[in-house]
Symmetry: D2
Subunit: 202 residues, 4 copies
Amino acid sequence: MNWEAILAPYSQVVEELKVKLKGMRAQYEYESRHSPIEFVTARVKPVSSIMEKAEKKGIPLDEIEQNLQDIAGVRVVCQFVDDIYTVVEMIRSRNDLTIVEEKDYIAREKRSGYRSYHMIIEYPVETIRGMKIVLAEVQIRTLAMNFWAINEHSLNYKYEGAIPDDIKIRLQRAAEAAFKLDEEMSKIKSEVREAQRVFHRK
Amino acid sequence: MNWEAILAPYSQVVEELKVKLKGMRAQYEYESRHSPIEFVTARVKPVSSIMEKAEKKGIPLDEIEQNLQDIAGVRVVCQFVDDIYTVVEMIRSRNDLTIVEEKDYIAREKRSGYRSYHMIIEYPVETIRGMKIVLAEVQIRTLAMNFWAINEHSLNYKYEGAIPDDIKIRLQRAAEAAFKLDEEMSKIKSEVREAQRVFHRK
Amino acid sequence: MNWEAILAPYSQVVEELKVKLKGMRAQYEYESRHSPIEFVTARVKPVSSIMEKAEKKGIPLDEIEQNLQDIAGVRVVCQFVDDIYTVVEMIRSRNDLTIVEEKDYIAREKRSGYRSYHMIIEYPVETIRGMKIVLAEVQIRTLAMNFWAINEHSLNYKYEGAIPDDIKIRLQRAAEAAFKLDEEMSKIKSEVREAQRVFHRK
Amino acid sequence: MNWEAILAPYSQVVEELKVKLKGMRAQYEYESRHSPIEFVTARVKPVSSIMEKAEKKGIPLDEIEQNLQDIAGVRVVCQFVDDIYTVVEMIRSRNDLTIVEEKDYIAREKRSGYRSYHMIIEYPVETIRGMKIVLAEVQIRTLAMNFWAINEHSLNYKYEGAIPDDIKIRLQRAAEAAFKLDEEMSKIKSEVREAQRVFHRK
């Protein structure tokens, strides 16, 4: 299988979404307003992970594109919890994509302590073989949520989903500290936003 | 006037078109096929040039956006003359933009010797204030045409449109040499394209 | 004054250091090892800030280059507090720069709650006028320290150094939450590092 | 063999040289002067090509680094033939690299019609295992030379060095057209350079 060619539309979606969301951030800066977007990262799922997930879920290789929703993944990281919902609104109002599903793991965090807002979208992308509609996942989180999640993700991977209890407990304590930081930051958010209007940092 | 904010949608269009056209090139490479696109450059017209052009054409500042078609400019450079028309077809068939006008300065070159294919497009772009339709100019040319054009452009600028006759003649000779190079390359194009299918690296 | 030309060597230093430090990160990844560098940002101080600082400190414009140490600024952000000292060692052992000064605001935080490790370096840069030695500041911090610092910075700017007491107190509480998060993360750092050796993706 | 890790210092050299040479170009622009550098590209030789070349030359895999001089390759493309020698001087005068060898295929073109200036350099690069001296090849050519060379290269590869006579002849005609274009451009070079001083295009 020529995976590079198969995944090309997904790379394309990821690049386009990255440029589009980073552009939003730039526009806020040009107007010296607080940007709800702090930074954007994106990736196409590595082939090894695609095959592993397909096998685990019993999805035949030719049905991967319809069944895996996160081959194209974009992550939007925000300064404040409120900003997350501003970004959600911004994405909902766009005309160049369709929202398929939303999951609010902030209002209702996962048992592990995971918090984030997820959106599954359909994105029409022009390819050298014509237009193609591609599924993509957008994850929206604060810096603190992101920090915690990337650590939990690597631990989860190492222990194949069965993190030992003592590490799990330490991870939950870290989640609480991250949550606490988000809370404290929320209390100064209007001050900071106002300050950012004055001081437009690069 | 906050030019950065005014021009933000144009920067955005330019960035999106660049990612979209570069992505096309990458897709040809993944499939080990000759890419009709050699490289893509893009720019937003500098404010000083916008104002100069507006003044010269007698366009009031608040009508600039409707009347200047090249505030957002994208340039696609091709290896062979034929490739230009492949790119034109690719752009015509896209669903994310509308073509407003086309000018074929290759079939019918300008008196100066200038050759290029121009397309004016309408491109809908999402901004922090909602969707906006923006005009952009796409110029498509070979490497040789491009080489000549960037030199002519700077000379034209220096002499404010009135290049002295002796330089004009030398410029026309260079245009002929560029044309000749395009012709010679055309004669080996099928060989080269075939070779690129075999050999593919950057 | 042609500020673009004056600041060109500083832009150059900033670009070179960014490529050099990002390269370090990539090398850890290729070897599937935990990278002490999470991400790198860099900037040349905006002209307005340079002039403001020069005026405040009574530095004449022609002595700016010798007296402002942070015209070129690079920031290295780390996952764990320990990583900061690994980065410090990495920078100390390089042959392409000289360290002029170090300040450890982690062992001894500022009264405001600010924590970071600062290094002032001399960096020889080749320019179109020959080699030039340029001062640059490298700030090394954890994600939590960075998060806090960028907020404090914008508030400080808004209130011109005189943040009102109530906001100061709330900012200190946020600093404590950031510190707590760093502490909790430290407790799982060996687990996470080990996991990153197993699992490595972008 | 972990090729990514082995080639990491070469990627690093390539990235650093690219930033350094592009920076030169930017400095000329800031001063509104004609830049002898039009653009810079760079690549690490693909593993398949490294192995092929090593086998052909009978170099054992553990002696590759001392014997292949073009694992790291940088290409500088110029507008005018004269600019090539300006770039050569610029590289000779740098303190951050040592020149090992120079070959002037412009003064004395290859029988195929190939023209370019080659420099082999030793470049000290800092890695996570300390400083390492790496060989790199810098190719300097005009746009017309480059255009011809990339076509010849792919044909050469396809025919494994034995390009059929009829294609060889057509290729030589293209080389002559490229040479002619360089000559015609040389005749307007002082005009164009002067114009670029006036008009500083992006």
